[in-house]
């Protein structure tokens, strides 16, 4: 029979529709509006999980985010979500869930025997054990522990769904939509302020949903909010963190209530909300009481049981006992009685109270001055044992299949605490309440100890009004507030009933009151130490129900007030957040932006193999069918440059336009060499140091006009160099008349190199005499290229005669094609970054592997570039003795003694028979001008070792190659070829 425990009427479920779902392989039915937990209870399912350490049977304990027990693996396949709280999982048709933390079936858990070893498995047992023999930890003990530990199983498959991130701004953010939150949102909204009301539940109303008498007010409030254009209501949205300056993080569960997200819809949306004022109306979580067997399926928080009865129209048990320490909990007995549950007794440690009297008048059996001291049953509750409070007299038993527990209420102060507010203990409520705010936030209603519908709503309305006023919206019409007779929530301070048996303070992590005392005995007397030692309040529920109970047990052991002992610190997140939501869209291919040069399409058409250079895509090489392998392509391209002409896209280099009266003086300060002497129409290689004297970047800078320079940087340092220049201009030399503009994206640049380079570009270039006399090495001039305004630079990175054409980015493709066409007659070939690297290594030019942020100018053989006079960044500290030390590794060239024997970058240079590293290989290639493996290296006493032979050792590969130490300039050391 289906839904045996569903009531015939009432509640917020749609009886007209039936949803079918499976739990542990069995099929059940429920209704829209159910959570998985509600639907399981409606079908009489009591046993839903096993506990973490002792594998004790566990049932549904709560009706919300505080749930410690009813964690399931929700959905299947790649969408499996372990550790999902059944109490908040919205039921949908076809839902599939499995219980977790069991070996075997729920009813017969093979690991339940670990309960027999319980005397030796108390808090911190692992710190004292498993130490001998020494090697057994990783091999024997730890694998056993790891297998036994953990909760649910991850799917291990990529998540098929996607996520979005979004931003919202508001004047007032209201968190929570119970009586306080609704009233706050309405009051704030009435002022005209932009209001966001965020509610984690799929229905708005919080506790009002279990108050049929307040349904009219709830609906009126929702209608009023819907009519306010500046109010945004966000259900299924959890505010998980309160960050600095009114920034809050939220997750909106867009499609978790559906079998799978509809097309083009994210599963969840991650919100960053920036709020001028925040009203926290997050309510409270009901407090458990520690007594032996307080974890048995059938033990449930009283308010949660009432919610199952009234909101979900489910009768969670046939015969119930209420164990409560305050008046407000008595209402749950009424709620259950209305649902047809027989209330066997109400047990209360107090001697008298108004609620007791009312309950007796209403015909309930109330046992004043009593307490539960044990529960009876196996996989489900069959009865309770009770006794006089304090333990005097005889124990007695009562049959019951449901035990309602309420030890008071824990205000949900997590967000207030995260925002920096201190927590203050309230003796009457036996609860920690938020203290004075640090940020622009205020709490309202139960989360600051103002319990009861009427009181919370009034408090919320005032908070909403005040928040709007704080955000600059002073007034709005007042709305009617609900009327209710609020019972007192102030509990008798009973946290634990001490009797024989396991009394849990943390159900999820199987932490008992005795564990807290053990921690105390072992010196872990502070709440933070005790928490870490026992793992109390460290489960997925973060101790929402029992955190304070463990603290109270510790307080008793210490003989100090609970207010002094305090609670464990609240850390984000208020409730766990899906990884995918936090990551948003910036994953996989979109983890970082992809930059493409203006010539990207041409390279693609040419079949380029791509490589990542930072976030840029650059052509590595252009394979041809005849090429045997990648090396063949690279060598072919490099040979074209050495023998004829090649063309390479160098648009990724950073470009900075520098203008102003003091531009030359500024360059003299930021470069280690002089630029003020540079003639207009000429370029110069420049070396930039950090202030600590280490090489920062290199590049060429050209003088376009007397007060106008054009700087190029390496691809990797384009951004940092720009920032470096801006910083020094602003902070050190604000009086200089210099303007800087990044023009990296504005100019496309292509390098044409090789002995036939001039002939190749000549047909394309207009307005310049390209002869060596008129346009020598390092000349710069304006011209046209394929009819487009352009700049031409005679620069070389390859060691060959070479030109760099810069054109506005939009014309890049046109000019490139024109050069290719004109150069065809001279055998021009495109070459990629690999050939570029080959050519510069052969030529002995330094690049990223040498300028790695650890080397000086002298290390790189560029020491003579440092100007002798005048200030420049890095000058002073480059003179430190450690950087002047002649034994520092210096740039040298290396050649494989056996030319075909590969050398690898990252090898270390050793003398024969030694394992002392004298240096390391930075860059290697096979040569084209000089066949065989060659490279660059940083070597101690490098110059002195030129001509000697060392071993390039590569123990990682078990390789050792004899190498000859040579000048870094493997090719054309006289630098004649660049001059034409």
């Amino acid at each position: 029979m289906s839904q045996t425990h569903r009531l015939p009427a009432g509640g917020h479920v749609e009886r007209g529709a039936t949803l079918t779902f499976r739990f542990d392989g069995r099929s059940y039915q429920g209704h829209p509006g159910d959570t998985l937990a509600a639907a399981l209870l409606a079908n009489g399912v009591r046993l839903v999980g096993r506990s973490f350490k002792y594998h004790r049977p566990r049932g549904i304990f709560s009706a919300g985010v505080e749930e410690p027990n009813a964690l399931v693996e929700l959905r299947s396949g790649a969408r499996r979500e372990p550790d999902t709280r059944a109490t908040i999982a919205e039921l949908f048709d076809g839902l599939v869930a499995e219980s977790q933390t069991r070996q075997g079936s729920l009813a017969f858990d093979r690991m339940a025997v670990s309960g027999l070893a319980a005397p030796w498995l108390g808090a911190g047992f692992y710190y004292k054990t498993f130490m001998w023999p020494p090697r057994f930890w990783e091999r024997v003990y730890e694998p056993l522990i790891r297998r036994a530990a953990g909760l649910g199983r991850a799917s291990g498959l990529p998540d098929p769904d996607h996520y979005e991130s979004a931003h919202a701004h508001c004047d007032v953010l209201v968190v929570g939509s119970g009586a306080a939150g609704l009233a706050a949102a309405r009051a704030a909204g009435a002022t005209g302020a932009r209001v966001i009301l965020a509610e984690q539940d799929f229905l708005l109303g919080g506790g009002l949903l279990a108050e049929p008498a307040q349904e009219g007010w709830r609906r009126t409030a929702l209608d009023a909010l819907a009519a306010m254009p500046e109010v945004t209501v966000m259900p299924r949205t959890t505010i998980f963190g309160f960050y600095d300056h009114g920034v809050l993080g939220a997750v909106e569960r867009v499609a978790d209530h559906l079998p799978e997200p509809p097309p083009h819809t994210p599963r969840q949306r991650f919100w960053t909300i920036r709020a001028a004022e925040v009203v926290l109306a997050t309510g409270a979580h009901e407090r458990l009481i520690a007594f032996p067997g307080n974890d048995r399926p059938g033990v449930m928080l009283a308010g949660s049981a009432a919610a199952y009865a009234r909101r979900w129209a489910v009768r969670p048990g046939g015969t119930a006992v209420l164990f409560a320490t305050h008046d407000a909990a008595y209402d749950s007995a009424l709620a259950l009685a209305e649902a047809g549950t027989r209330i066997a007794a109400i047990l209360d440690p107090r001697e008298d109270s108004p609620a007791m009297q009312h309950a007796r008048e209403a015909g309930f059996t109330v046992r004043a001055g009593s307490e539960i001291c044990d529960t009876i049953g196996g996989l489900a509750l069959r009865g309770v044992r009770f006794r006089n409070h304090g333990g005097a007299g005889q124990e007695a038993a009562l049959p019951a299949d449901l035990l309602l527990v309420s030890g008071g209420w824990n205000p949900a102060v997590h967000l207030a605490s995260q925002s920096g507010a201190p927590l203050v203990f309230d003796e009457a409520l036996q609860a920690f309440l938020p203290g004075p705010p640090v940020q622009r936030e205020r709490s309202a209603g139960a989360c600051r100890g103002i319990h009861g519908i009427a009181a919370a709503a009034a408090d919320g309305a005032e908070a909403g009004r005040a928040a709007a006023e704080g955000a600059g919206f002073p007034s709005g019409p007042a709305a009617p507030l609900p009327e209710a007779a609020d019972a007192s929530h102030a509990p008798f301070p009973l946290y634990e009933v001490r009797a024989r048996g396991k009394a849990f303070v943390d159900l999820q992590d199987d932490v008992t009151a005795e564990d807290m005392r053990l921690a105390h005995r072992e010196g872990f007397t502070h709440i933070e130490h005790a928490k870490r030692y026992t793992t109390h309040a460290m489960g997925t529920d973060q101790g929402k129900s029992g955190g304070i109970v463990g603290a109270a047990v510790l307080a008793e052991a210490r003989g100090e007030p609970l207010g002094v002992v305090g609670l464990p610190r609240f850390r984000p997140y208020t409730t766990p957040v899906a990884w995918g939501a936090m990551a948003g869209e910036a994953v996989g291919q979109h983890f970082q932006p992809t930059r493409r040069t203006p010539l990207h399409r041409w390279h693609e058409e040419a079949g380029a193999v791509w490589m990542d250079a930072g976030i840029w895509k650059r052509p590595a090489y252009y394979p041809r069918p005849a090429d045997a392998d990648a090396w063949a392509s690279v060598m072919r391209e490099a040979r074209a440059v050495r023998e004829r002409a090649g063309i390479c896209d160098v648009s990724t280099l950073g470009k900075i336009d520098i203008q102003g009266r003091d531009a030359a003086a500024f360059l003299d300060l930021v470069y280690a060499n002089t630029f003020s002497t540079l003639a207009v129409g000429r370029a110069r290689y420049g070396l930039m140091l950090r202030e600590d004297g280490i090489v920062f970047d290199d590049g060429t800078t050209s003088r376009i006009g007397p007060q106008h320079f054009y700087m190029t940087t390496t691809t990797a340092q384009a951004g940092p160099v720009m920032q470096h220049l801006e910083f020094h201009l602003a902070s050190c030399w604000p009086d200089l008349d210099v303007s800087l503009a990044s023009v990296t994206d504005q100019w496309a640049t292509m390098s044409i190199a090789g002995p036939r380079a001039r002939e190749a570009i000549a047909p394309v270039i207009g307005g310049l005499d390209l002869s060596d006399a008129a346009f020598p090495f390092m000349a710069v001039g304006d011209c046209t290229a394929a009819g487009v305004p352009a700049r031409l630079f005679r620069l070389s990175f390859s060691g060959e005669m070479a030109y760099e054409i810069a054109v506005p980015a939009g014309y890049a493709d046109r000019v490139w094609r024109a050069v290719m066409a004109a150069g065809a007659a001279y055998g021009i070939e495109p070459y990629g970054v690999e050939a570029l690297g080959l050519l510069r290594i052969e030529k002995g030019h330094v690049a990223g592997p040498e300028l790695n942020g650890q080397t000086t100018a002298a290390d790189c053989g560029l020491g003579r570039m440092l100007k002798k006079r005048g200030d420049f960044i890095g000058r002073a500290l480059a003179g430190r003795p450690g950087l002047q030390d002649p034994s520092r590794p210096r740039l040298v060239g290396i050649r494989s003694v056996r030319p075909e024997q590969q050398i690898r970058a990252g090898s270390h240079l050793l003398e024969a028979g030694s394992s002392e590293s004298l240096g390391w290989v930075t860059s290697v290639t096979r040569g084209v001008a000089r066949p065989g493996w060659l490279g660059l290296a940083m070597l101690r006493d490098g110059e002195a070792r030129i001509g000697t032979t060392l071993t390039a050792a590569n123990p990682l590969f078990d390789e050792a190659a004899p190498v000859e130490i040579v000048s870094p300039h493997h090719y054309d050391p006289e630098n004649a070829r660049v001059r034409g």
Binding site: R80, E81, D83, P119, W120, Y127, T129, F130, M131, W137, E142, I145, A149, G150, L151, R153, D159, D161, G241, D244, G249, E514, L518, R521, E522, H526, E528, H529, Y533, T535, T540, Q542, R571, P572, Y573, P576, V577, A578, W579, M582, A583, A586, G588, F591, T594, D612, E691, D692, P849, G853, R880, G882, L883, G906, H908, V921, A953, N954, P955, L956
Partner: protein
């Protein structure tokens, strides 16, 4: 010393574990000690332990402002490794790793050192060459290192998306002896063992002033009175400059935030420690089942012990880009430690301008793995009044001399490390 012997554990289990006593005494300060160690984190407690164990100096007090092990010792991702590039670093961290390998037996306390392997992924030739240089540097220093290819990465952590559509994985540098340990247990274990050797561990004792006479330390002023000692060691990473400001000398340290995160508990999923080479991200799984992970600094000076949402988003994005199977798992908690960031990313274990005042400081975000090595070298430096060769390079003067130990070449910009 086998205080936690098998027999004792069995007997205690049978009598309700009522016979256990505090793991360390709650000592009250004496007026005078031979050595005062300021800071009851792992490094301070280890310093005290090795002073007693190696150097026989047992009249030692560890002064802790709050609780032991609640600073960065309790706020990290518990990774232990010695896979450094520069010889000064890899020799020191290897010494530390060797101490880790015998720590359970030295301390008589299970710190759950688990040599699960640490693999650093690389994604392009430049990164691979840097990994080869580093791995070879390790091997030449006698440290284990292996270069693994894509299949090797797959075998270590099958969930890594090798064909990541933005930055495919090329391989990884693996140190099999690296792994994780249980961070809290490290503090408690050192406290337990130091206490047993006579060290006074004094909690809730904040140092409010340093007694300096004629350029030499004579003791400290605390919230629990004046305590004198001819030698004082600082082990208060994250707050070192607060103490050195009292001593009147400036320090090249800035305090920055580093966040870390843990997921809900899960059955075993990730067996080793994996770091992403294309973004700041690293992950491992604890024995309890939580995935422990983190990323880069928040990027500005802070003592706030709470991180920003912005950096958290980046960490999660990097993690999911590396392991797409993490998407539906949930993060449970985040926390932030305050880091002593130095200009070169390397630490200080050294004497100071004040005679008799020593420090172990500047641990950046790598202090946990250094815990035993730092304590060992700090103790040596205090006992002998001169550094051990292992920490001889970790001086304050190295910047003045131009001998920075800049492992990554980032330059003197802690916020960019």
């Amino acid at each position: 010393m086998l205080r936690y012997s098998a027999f004792r554990i069995a007997a205690e289990g049978l009598r309700g574990n009522r016979g256990w006593t505090p793991t360390w005494r709650k000592a009250k300060p004496k007026p005078r000690y031979d050595v005062i160690v300021i800071g009851g984190g792992g490094h301070g407690l280890a310093t005290a332990f090795y002073l007693a164990e190696v150097h026989g100096i047992r009249n030692v007090a560890v002064l802790e402002r709050g609780l032991i092990g609640q600073g960065n010792t309790g706020r990290n991702t518990t990774i232990v490794r010695s896979n450094y590039l520069l010889p000064e670093n890899n020799r020191f961290y290897e010494h530390s790793l060797k101490l880790w390998e015998g720590l359970e037996q030295s301390l008589g306390y299970n710190v759950m050192m688990s040599q699960r392997g640490v693999v650093n992924l690389f994604h392009n030739d430049a990164q691979r060459n840097a990994a080869i240089r580093r791995g070879n540097s390790m091997r030449l220093s006698g440290i284990d290192a292996e270069l693994v290819d894509r299949e090797g990465v797959r075998a270590l952590c099958p969930l890594v998306d090798l064909d990541n559509s933005r930055y495919p994985v090329m391989g990884g540098l693996l140190q099999r002896r690296g792994g994780t340990a249980r961070h809290d247990a490290v503090a408690w274990g050192f406290a337990h063992a130091a206490d047993a050797r006579g060290v006074d561990i004094i909690e809730h004792c904040e140092v409010t002033g340093l007694l300096i006479e004629g350029g030499a330390i004579g003791g400290v002023q605390t919230t629990r009175g004046e305590i004198r000692a001819p030698k004082v060691g600082l082990a208060v990473a994250g707050h070192t400059t607060t103490l050195t400001d009292m001593a009147g000398f400036p320090l090249p340290i800035e305090t920055h935030l580093l966040q870390a995160f843990v997921s809900e508990g899960l059955k075993p999923l990730i067996d080793c420690v994996v770091t992403f080479g294309a973004g700041h991200f690293y992950i491992s799984q604890s024995d309890k089942g939580g995935l422990v992970f983190g990323g880069g600094l928040d990027g500005y000076n802070s003592y706030g012990q709470r991180g920003t949402l912005r950096e958290a988003e980046h960490v999660f994005a990097a993690g999911l880009s590396m392991i797409p199977a993490l998407g539906r798992l949930r993060a449970l908690r985040s926390w932030a430690g305050v880091m002593d960031m130095t200009p070169d990313g390397s630490p200080f274990i050294c004497k100071t301008p004040v005679h008799g005042l020593y420090m172990t400081a500047g641990w950046c975000y790598g202090g946990f793995k250094a815990t035993p090595g730092s304590g060992w070298c700090h103790a040596w430096t205090i006992a002998k009044d001169e550094p051990h060769p292992l920490n001889a390079a970790f001086t304050l003067e190295r910047f003045r001399e131009g001998r920075a130990l800049d492992e990554r070449g980032n330059g003197p910009y802690p916020w960019a490390q």
